[in-house]
Amino acid sequence: MRRSFLPIILVIAGLAILAILPKVLTSYYVGLLVTVLIFGIFALSLDLLLGHCGLPSLGHAASFGTAAYVAGFLSLKIANNAPVNFAAALFAGGAVAAIFGLLALRTRGIYFLMITLALSQVLWGLAFKWKSATGGDDGMPGIPRPNLSMLGLDLTPVNSYYYFTLALFVLVCILMYILIRSPFGHSLRGIRESESRMLALGYNVWAHQYVAFIIAGLFAALAGILYVYYNNMVSPKDLHLITSAKVLLMVILGGTGTFLGPILGATLIVLLENIVSGFTERWLLILGIIYVLVIMLAPKGLLGPLRGRLRRWIPM
């Protein structure tokens, strides 16, 4: 089989551009890029569930927001020890997925949607009401970015934080790429296509879905941690349905199971949110209209029609 070098060239070119951009952009736009990369990770993590397992989670903000809160809480109220806080927050995000997965994976389809939504909204309610721990509606402002002085790495300047985020973004892409090409990834797509056949073939369907649910939770948690440190604050909206629904839209807009699609979707929505917020306060209204338009005009996503062609590059 003749393998095309085009994708490799494109990836290298893309990375080169991403590496150079901070040299030519103002810090405002570098910050915007950080947000794009973070939501790219978040959207990729949801697509592992939606695109590869066929599990439409409407509560994916649960892991994202929990990790953000844990990282923020520890940094502000316990000790600003970034590596430990990072690990603890990642663990917390994964643990939320592990607990919610136990409940949600007992159901399918419409129930799965509703239950993931309800469970994550309960966490939102907790963050909103438990003022003494979470700061309530105001959230927790003033969370400092990590300063890894022993490594001589201060992530406080936005450019340093950008490269830090970019490195993790690339790492997530590589891990995700390896995962979806592995036997495990193939099994997930088999389960997406027919659970009963996979059971008959001898696959423990539940175990596969549960592991995937936790992995997706961990990647979402990573995005949440990057997000809280970047914004220096966390608030209940990071756990809210609006956040879960936004990342779902990113995946659908780009095209599920296309790898590039969720990243593209994240880029478009983050940029659009930024532009729209610049001249009107009606972002939620515009976002609502985008939902309706996407479903009516491009239900398979922007890259959906290219799925066959993409599959040559990214076997899935």
Binding site: P56, L58, L103, R106, T107, G109, I110, Y111, L113, M114, I115, L117, A118, L119, Q121, V122, G125, L126, K129, W130, K131, S132, H240, L241, I242, A245, L248, L249, I252, R282, L284, L285, L287, G288, I289, I290, Y291, V292, V294, I295, M296, P299
Partner: protein
């Protein structure tokens, strides 16, 4: 007055509101297989419309009727023009999330961000004395309305031709269609009825809860929990679960204000672990 009696009364009246809200959500799923996340918006928009009518006319009945009918029509249109074409659950969810955001933000533009309250009908403003105890009469009215609506729905479903048709359509849409029932029209009507009931809940509730932006999502969560616990498509389930959630939520808020939602999370988790399809849901 005794804390427990008063809180139980508050919980029950809140539960009745949740029933008004969840009945439509549950039916639209049971009958049409539609997941409607804009259902909480019907509650909020209904409450705001009721507020405006009350301010203009001072007539509470008019507020209830106009609120319910206008939102009922909104529901009819949404189902007829958009939702009906979507068979995929995920597409329905995204579309209705879109409407949740649109309706929520438009309400914010029209009615502002300050929490508001609909004046109670004068007859039910004060407390009422029964035996030695004093009860807030409006809460009793709400409970009464909930019971009347529940009986009406039961009558509609079990004792009328329309109800028989609905049940036939739930069991087997194709067969119901072949016996001459206009299933598509029936679905639109039931969907509109569900929206109108949610709006009724909004107006009635707007007189003892405050109305505020974001309430659409708060009540949506509670309605979802009710439907999850009660079982999709079951009116009986919606009724029982609504009262349960209403009581739990109310006592939770009163006793553990910081952990309020956890008091409904626990029963939901237990139900899910034992019966993933809910108390009265079909497996």
């Amino acid at each position: 007055m005794n804390f427990w009696i008063l809180q139980s009364l508050n919980g029950l009246s809140y539960g009745m509101l949740l029933f008004l809200l969840a009945a439509g959500l549950s039916l639209s799923f049971g009958l049409m297989n539609i997941v409607n996340l804009a259902h909480g918006s019907y509650f909020l928009v209904g409450a705001y419309v009721g507020l405006t009518v009350m301010e203009r006319t001072g007539n509470f009945m008019a507020a209830v009727v106009v609120g319910a009918i206008s939102v009922g029509i909104l529901g009819l249109l949404m189902q007829r023009l958009l939702l009906r074409r979507l068979t995929d659950h995920l597409a329905q969810v995204l579309l209705t999330i879109g409407f949740l955001f649109i309706l929520g933000d438009l309400s914010l533009v029209i009615w502002g961000g300050v929490p508001q309250i609909i004046p109670k009908p004068p007859l039910f403003e004060g407390p009422i004395r029964i035996m030695e105890s004093v009860f807030p009469s409006y809460r009793l009215l709400v409970i009464g309305v909930g019971i009347v609506v529940a009986i009406f729905l039961w009558w509609l479903q079990d004792r009328t031709a329309m109800g028989a048709n609905v049940r036939a359509a739930v069991d087997d849409e194709e067969m119901a269609g072949s016996t001459g029932i206009n299933v598509a029209l029936l679905m639109t009507v039931v969907f509109g009825l569900g929206a109108a009931m949610a709006a009724l809940g909004g107006v009635v509730g707007g007189a003892f809860l405050t109305i505020f932006p974001g309430q659409d999502m708060d009540v949506l969560l509670l309605a979802l929990v009710v439907v999850i616990i009660g079982g999709l498509g079951s009116l009986k389930g919606a009724f029982v679960a609504a009262l349960l959630v209403g009581l739990l939520d109310n006592f939770g808020k009163a006793l553990f204000p910081e952990l309020a939602l956890f008091t409904i999370f626990a029963p939901m988790a237990i139900i899910l672990a034992i019966r993933p399809t809910g108390l009265f849901g079909r497996a």
